[in-house]
């Protein structure tokens, strides 16, 4: 790490290494809280899949797994771009950093648009609980439960993706102004957050879209 020691060290820290490791530790603990935050919904999914497995398999077949699979690929690629961006920030290559950040944000937006189309398709097919939910099968109640959990999980994840995109765009602006030449920590922190959001989707895709064999 070629961060020069003249980098701005906050008053309560002794040196830049301490500041960096503190920031990373703080971010990782925050990610642990996010795991527990999503955990409540994963618990609801697990419990109701255990009690209503048959209906869950049926209901998950109504989700379009092409949308889901494509979105997984998009997020994985944006994770790659983010990792490259963090490296560029570390090596203090400003132009490359800005380009990579914008690309990451772009793929994040692509993810959201695909998600938007998918939600519209679900709405048209009357799969949205409370908003004119229709279900031809016999146990509409449990199917509505599945879709309620589906929209809760993917909705919460979508909010996190939106926050991520906003953060990355702000980073791109600051990077263009050269704010991250000595201290690239904010880029690394946002990178950790973005990778976490990707990991959550990595679990959502098989659990929601591939619950029952297609």
């Amino acid at each position: 790490m070629n961060a020069t020691t003249t980098a701005v060290v906050a008053e309560q820290f002794d040196d830049i290494q301490q500041q960096h490791s503190a920031a990373k530790l703080g971010m990782w603990i925050f990610l642990a809280t996010e795991v527990m935050f999503f955990g409540g919904l994963f618990l609801a999914y697990t419990v109701y899949r255990f009690t209503y497995g048959h209906v869950f398999a049926l209901a998950s077949r109504h989700l379009d797994d092409v949308f889901g699979g494509a979105n997984t690929a998009v997020l994985l690629f944006s994770s790659l771009l983010m990792a490259l961006a963090v490296r560029a920030a570390e090596l203090d290559r400003r132009k490359q950093l800005v380009r990579l950040l914008l690309a990451t944000a772009l793929f994040g937006i692509l993810f959201m648009t695909i998600k938007g189309f998918e939600y519209r398709k679900d709405f048209v097919e009357h799969l949205v609980p409370r908003f004119d939910f229709r279900w031809d099968g016999s146990d509409a109640a449990n199917a509505e439960l599945f879709f309620w959990i589906y929209f809760a999980l993917t909705g919460l994840h979508a909010i996190h993706v939106t926050v991520g995109i906003a953060l990355i765009l702000v980073l791109a602006l600051l990077a263009r102004a050269g704010k991250f030449s000595p201290n690239f920590m904010p880029v690394e922190i946002t990178g950790l957050y973005w990778h976490f959001v990707d990991i959550i989707w990595v679990f959502l895709f098989p659990l929601l879209y591939l619950a029952g064999h297609r």
Binding site: E11, Q12, A22, I29, T33, M36, F37, G39, A44, L145
Partner: protein, 554 residues
Amino acid sequence: MNTSSNATTTIVRHSGAYALDNYLTAGQGVKSWLLTTDHKRIGILYLWTILVFFLIAAVAAALMRIELLTPAGDLISSETYNKLFTVHGVLMVWFFLIPSIPAVLGNFVIPMMIGARDVAFPRLNLFSWYLFVAAGALALWSLIHGGVDTGWTFYTPYSTTYANSHVISMAAGIFVAGFSSIITGINFIVTIHKMRAPGLRWFRLPLFIWALYATSLILVLATPVLAITLALMSVERLWGVGIFDPKLGGDPILFQHLFWFYSHPAVYIMILPGMGVISELITCFSRKRIFGYAWVGCSSMAIAVLGFIVWGHHMFVSSQSIYAGMIFSLLSFLVAVPSGVKVFNWTATLYKGSITFQTPMLYALGFIGLFTIGGLTGLCVATLAVDVHVHDTYFVIAHFHYIMVGGMVMAFMGGLHYWWPKITGRLYPEFWGKLAAMITFIGFNLTFFPQFLLGYLGMPRRYHAYPPEFQMLNVLSTAGASILGVGYVLPLIYFLWSLKRGRLAGPNPWRATGLEWQTSSPPPVHNFEATPIATASPYLYDAEADRDLHMANA
């Protein structure tokens, strides 16, 4: 030599008794307080904020106790009574008990105890206080508009479908308060890991730091589950359809699992910091090193971890399966063991000590007595067969008040008295302090011990009217509550009095060994002139030398 606290006088009286250039005088005016990133000032901001919520919740408790004087519900309507016990529960749990020691004493003392200049993320620390104030505003908004009548547990389907009170705004308030405590938790964990003074290895840390580190682990890992649970409940209430709704095949017991997965570790968030304070007080006022340092430190960690696997004992009669009930009952017994280890070690610390009985020590001894009773009655409610009888009765109310009020609030008062000279540079009046401690102890026992009897007799909790045969014990309990009220008002008065006219404290009035006592009081903005080097294990008191010295303290 009474120098006024605002250093306008030109004479620089650095008499060591009162440091003129300290964190209180470093900035004047409201802006210096509202934009401070100094962990000491943020601690004081939290102190004033939780005082407001404590008073509101205490008034609610007083009204309930007065209502329960008579069997018939004749003072206030049952609707109002339900809102009162909900307000008492919500404000006491989330806006007083959980933030009090970590956010007030923890914020103030942790950086100083480990020789740091501030917490790891000072701006986040201030943001945590603003979140807390916003949360309090939301809760008060919900209160003003009619309050909530679901109880602090928000059980569905009542909270989602049948309650017609301001549930969502209160849930939003608690949601925001949750993030305030998550940020405090993250701050403390990173501070304790990354910013200890040179030479301050883990086994040289004061036990208060161990206790708050364990508490921060719980804050960080349990609170998010509360956030998602309240969010799910609120959305279900808003949309009328959700995953806890039996009409959809949802299971109200799932809400209870999610709620108690947070709420049981939350009671350890409340008591662990109290235990940390007691370890400090017992060692300082018996002039003796703690007995079994490693065991007491590790028992804090054990409580934090075991605290996560026992929540099912709140649901023994809730149609949870009897085998799960048995698992949770066994685990609940095991979580009581580390608490026992702590109490035994405190008792052993007193052996061959040179014990003085200033106010903090009275609170500490009071804590050990009441917490032991609270903890042991916990064994009764952990026993499956007995809990079937006493669940949701006043036995449970007495149990958790013995731990939260008898334990945690006594420890908080003890800690506040102990660090008051360091916070303000002035001493509180010793006589009034001891008097208040004794009044609190007597009032507390008179209030809550009759409730054990009421509980086993079968009086259910949250009852606005009750059969006549329970009246005598309820009258006793209300009498005790009034004495307890006096016990809490007294410190409020003499603490304020001591701000202006308390005797000057000097850097180390108790001759204690913590790093925070090796700097002036009130301490300078960056706590230490030069970062201290820790050389030895904590609590290097010497009871024998102290006896020879035997100074007559005023």
